[in-house]
Amino acid sequence: MAGFDKVVNSYEEAMAGLEDGMTIIAGGFGLCGIPEGLIAQMVKMGKKELTIVSNNCGVDDFGLGLLLHDRQIKKMVSSYVGENALFEKQLLNGELEVELTPQGTLAEKMRAGGAGIPAFYTATGVGTPVADGKEVKQFNGRDYIMEESITGEFAIVRAWKADRYGNLVFRHTAMNFNPMAATAGKITVVEAEEIVEPGELEPSEIHTPGIYVNRVIKANFEKRIERRTVRQD
């Protein structure tokens, strides 16, 4: 079934077509569920002036934070970017632009982008700096602001299991933004812990149907923990 076999065997193939100035939508929350190898490949390719849409920007030495070292990022669209000294420096220098977006609005903007919905209304951010320049409309006596959807030339996603057709299953809270990111890329690239044959994933348990996915690569992940909290038993 050549037509639906989306597995590629190198990171070069996985990120082929990435160019300066593109918008990349990335799954992950903090360091949880991030496509580590695809980010490393982006660092290696050295493309510049990128717009990255991701809830966070990693830390100084891991995740999307690595793209800051060679100043590859022009603009971040994120809800929280406070884990990262280099980010702070580039932001204050004016080398980096940030568009702070409430977390739920960000998730919905990605979903809307993939779902052909150019804009939606939300009460989130009404009366705050987030509402600046946005259309306000009343529904049932309450104010809402219009938020526009987001799409990208690429989406980079981490999955647990992927089949060759690109059907995806995510593991625990490593799911987070990954399913929305997967829908919003013109080219959606998935890095998976495991690749299985079509038919091995139960159809109703698939989180992301393969129609959204263009390329799949198998990877080993470091899975660094950002805040290691344990209890004594």
């Binding site: 998730a107 989130t124 809270t173 989180h207 290691r228 344990v230």
Partner: protein, 218 residues
């Protein structure tokens, strides 16, 4: 005596009801989970995609793929559900979460809250706080009544960039429990040994005091 962080959390826990779905912010709000009354069941929502958050894991249970919205490693409670971020905020924005508890820099007498940004210092971002204050059925703020310079954080109007407007219903500070309604702070309870005068002095916004205000008991 001003309340300790644990006492603030303990007092907030009295606002819980059996069967509540609750989102607890980072800091003091997180401690509320330690004071859920005996025999009462509440389910904790973590906005990164977990309904039914359990305790921290043991060393053996530790899993990088199982974190909360504060990026701490956690466990899933029995009967938990895990879902994506759009679904998580559908529940929050759609008003399905009964109670949100979060911290703040400032709250004003109309219930507006500033909690995510101090201009001139670095902008870290609002995370999920703006969605939570816009969507939750009930919002309780925990904070110290005044900052370290003794300046009130309960204002006539917030001075910092807002997280949300007209949304905070109650404040549990280190000095008092205050209901926010009708454009004023209504004093409901005092910390043990804290006088109405002290609370009045540290409340810059309009404070309404009705008769004897009971002391909290712990």
């Amino acid at each position: 005596m001003a309340l300790t962080r644990d006492q603030i959390a303990q007092r907030v826990a009295r606002e819980l009801q059996d069967g509540y779905y609750v989102n607890l912010g980072i800091g003091i709000p997180t401690l509320v989970a330690n004071f859920i009354p005996e025999g009462m069941e509440v389910m904790l929502q973590s906005e990164n995609g977990l309904l039914g958050m359990g305790p921290y894991p043991t060393e053996a249970e530790l899993d990088a793929d199982m974190i909360n919205a504060g990026k701490e490693t956690v466990t899933a409670a029995k009967g938990a559900a895990i879902f994506n971020s759009a679904e998580s905020f559908a529940m929050i924005r759609g008003g399905h979460v009964d109670l949100t508890v979060l911290g703040a820099f400032e709250v004003d007498q109309n219930g507006s809250i500033a909690s995510y940004m101090i201009p001139g210092k670095l902008v870290k971002g609002m995370g999920g706080a703006m969605d939570l204050v816009a969507g939750a059925q009930n919002i309780i703020v925990t904070m110290t009544h005044a900052n370290k310079h003794g300046q009130s954080k309960l204002l006539e109007a917030c001075t910092l960039p807002l997280t949300g407007v007209d949304c905070v219903k109650k404040i549990v500070s280190d000095l008092a429990v205050i209901e926010v309604k009708d454009g004023a702070f209504h004093l409901l309870e005092r910390a043990p040994g804290v006088s109405i005068e002290e609370i009045q002095e540290k409340t810059a916004g309009k404070l309404v005091v009705n008769g004897d205000v009971p002391e909290m008991v712990f």
